[in-house]
């Protein structure tokens, strides 16, 4: 089991390394550099000086090596090209918590709400909760977040001044952005949960549970939900990635000082260090959520646990089925 976990963690680092290195190379081979993006008609000497200071004159591979060396020895992601003297990780430490808060709230509320709607829809198939779930799911898939954000802003901040329009302060600033972010996960998880629950409910072991005389509530709680968790958990990692992307728009529309706004700025000003650093963070979040999903499997499904214990890797077996 420990070996399995270690293997997964090592794999996570490998993916992280490849993705970050690739983006590093990609962004450094973009034509144009931070200086020409901001200042025009720069003397050649100043330019070379500037390059030398940030090591941009070195071959790409050397730059990449230096980047990793700096990260591994000092835990630093390098100096910002736009704000000299400030390190990229400073920005991350400052702005990431806001983005993550928004993302996590959106995800938690969205997923749990969606799951509840989905379960209800599946258990009352072709009845009101089912239609309601389908309606919400359709709404969620059809309305882009920015449209919802605009509508919400219009009704709750302009027409009725119930909430502050934009900015960042207490919990009250939180409500509308999170509301806009939950819509898409609610829709996705409602649809998905419904079909998964319907799948599980038709399994033979649910009939076994019923034949024991267990009441419906207990069967749903103990037998149905437990077995729907597996497929749902699988979807979590892509959702995390999706929400990080989604937060960009919401952040810019509600003028929230999060990483998203910064990311776009950094790219437009060719702040290589910042782009690489933020990409590092996003990729790490995604890969880490994949790892968490893998570990959750271990907790939820005893079959995976057993395999991990025996330290086997999933290899498609081609032994014919004999019956």
């Amino acid at each position: 089991m420990a070996r399995y976990i270690i293997k997964r963690i090592l794999y996570m680092f490998l993916v992280l390394f490849i993705v970050v290195s690739t983006t590093f190379i990609m962004i450094h081979s973009i034509p144009g550099d931070p200086l020409t993006a901001t200042v025009e008609n720069l003397p050649e000497a100043t330019r070379l000086n500037y390059y030398a200071r940030y090591g941009l004159d070195k071959p790409l591979m050397v730059q990449l090596f230096r980047f990793w060396k700096l990260f591994l020895t000092e835990g630093s992601l390098g100096e910002s090209l736009k704000y000299p003297g400030r390190m990229a990780e400073e920005f991350i430490v400052k702005y990431a918590p806001i983005s993550f808060q928004l993302g996590i709230w959106g995800l938690v509320i969205g997923v749990s709400l969606g799951m509840m709607l989905g379960i209800n829809a599946a258990l009352h198939k072709n009845k009101l909760p089912d239609y309601f779930g389908t309606f919400v799911a359709l709404l969620g898939t059809c309305i882009p977040a920015f449209v919802l954000a605009a509508l919400v802003q219009y009704f709750f901040t302009v027409k009725h001044k119930w909430f502050p329009t934009a900015g960042w302060g207490g919990a009250i600033y939180f409500v509308l952005p999170v509301l806009c972010m939950t819509l898409s996960p609610v829709a996705t998880y409602c649809r998905y949960m419904k079909s998964t629950v319907l799948d599980v409910i038709n399994q033979d072991y649910i009939l076994t549970a019923e034949s024991k005389g267990l009441p419906r509530g207990l069967i749903i709680w103990r037998h149905v939900l437990r077995n729907t968790l597996m497929p749902i958990v699988t979807m979590l990692a892509p959702s995390v990635a999706g929400l990080l992307g989604g937060s960009f728009i919401i952040e810019s529309m509600f003028a929230i000082p999060g990483l998203g706004t910064y990311f776009v700025k950094a790219i437009n000003s060719r702040d290589y260090t910042m782009v690489v650093a933020m990409n590092f963070l996003f990729t790490a979040t995604y890969v880490f959520s994949l790892l968490v999903v893998d570990l959750l499997y271990l907790v939820i499904d005893p079959r995976v646990r057993l395999e991990a214990k025996q330290n086997r890797r999933a290899v498609a077996s081609n032994v014919p089925n004999e019956n």
Binding site: I30, T141, P144, A150, Y154, G245, I249, V264, I267, R270
Partner: protein, 316 residues
């Protein structure tokens, strides 16, 4: 035992001896009674039964017609600026009003629709095409090649696609349909590649493919006569669901200012432009947003219907 009529065997009322002549089994009866339908006919029948899906299809046709003929029907070109008509209200001349530069909004909405739908549809087909070939190759060779190719897919799909778009638009130093398409397809094909691969692997292990192999059918013939026809339904469904998601992404990127640039436009770009004046001119946001929503709805409903119609698990 429950009481039974014992005299039933002697009760001859209404019975004639002809009724008791052994006729045996009528051999001709052992025929199929069900109406004769092919797979696609059956799928189509199933699709027609799904009212929501049919509604989606009709909605899509209407939207398509408007997108094709809308810019022609409008009284002004979508590019024609006329500062004097800035924010012209909705009337007979300007059906949806005009934007800040006095451009006819009706023409712009449908012109934007062209771009959005072209991106969605062609992107979905490109993704499907690349994904099918990649997944097909991986599953055909199997073994090490397969697991190596799938590792690449795994890593590619861990790159946030927003980053890819941004990088590409900087790299190509161009924003527009081609950049957007390239960026969205660069990572978008991985999902369908996985799907095709797993479906092909399942099919290759199926008994009927084994039977074909034993009959001496050449591998390429097996691919064309068994594997592709049995995957095509899955791919169609996937394309139907991918179109709206690409339209969504395009809108999202254009909204961030990374997509289509003026005077070309798309629904996302229109929304983005309308956002700043939303409080005063809500209709500028309303039309493109409604179009996006309706297109999404049409494709989603149709996709649901197609999936139910084509999914072999649902067949009875």
């Amino acid at each position: 035992m429950s009481p039974m009529k014992t005299d039933w065997i002697n009760d001859t009322e209404g019975l004639t001896p002809e009724m008791f002549v052994t006729v045996g089994v009528d051999e001709s009866k052992d025929r199929v009674l069900r109406p004769h339908i092919s797979y696609w006919q059956d799928a189509f029948r199933r699709f027609k039964k799904n009212k929501l899906a049919v509604f989606g299809a009709i909605l899509l046709v209407i939207l398509m017609l408007l997108v094709i003929f809308g810019p022609i029907m409008a009284k002004h070109s979508f590019e024609e600026t006329n500062i004097a008509e800035s924010y012209h209200p909705m009337d007979k001349d300007y059906w949806f009003g005009a934007d800040k530069l006095g451009r006819d909004y009706f023409a712009r909405v449908w012109q934007g629709g062209r771009v959005s739908i072209i991106i969605g549809v062609s992107g979905a087909f490109i993704c499907a095409f690349v994904g099918c070939i990649y997944g097909g190759i991986a599953s055909y060779f199997g073994g090490r090649i397969d697991s190596f190719m799938m590792r690449i897919v795994e890593i590619l799909s861990s790159i946030p696609y927003l980053l890819v778009v941004i990088l590409l638009s900087l790299w190509l130093d161009a924003k527009g349909i081609k950049t957007l398409l390239l960026a969205m397809c660069l990572t978008g094909w991985t999902g369908i590649a996985r799907l095709v691969r797993s479906q092909m692997i399942t099919l290759r292990q199926s008994d009927y493919v084994l039977a074909a192999k034993l009959l001496g059918v050449k591998p390429l013939k097996i691919v064309t006569s068994h594997l592709i026809p049995n995957t095509i339904g899955l791919i169609i469904v996937n394309i139907t669901f991918r179109v709206p998601s690409l339209i969504f992404s395009e809108a999202f990127l254009s909204f961030l200012g990374l997509g289509i640039q003026s005077p070309e436009t798309s629904w996302g770009a229109l929304c983005s432009a309308a956002q700043t004046v939303f409080t005063f001119k809500p209709h500028l946001m309303f039309f493109p947003a409604l179009c996006i929503a309706l297109t999404m709805l049409a494709f989603t409903l149709m996709g649901d219907g197609l999936r139910d119609a084509l999914d072999p698990r649902q067949r009875k």
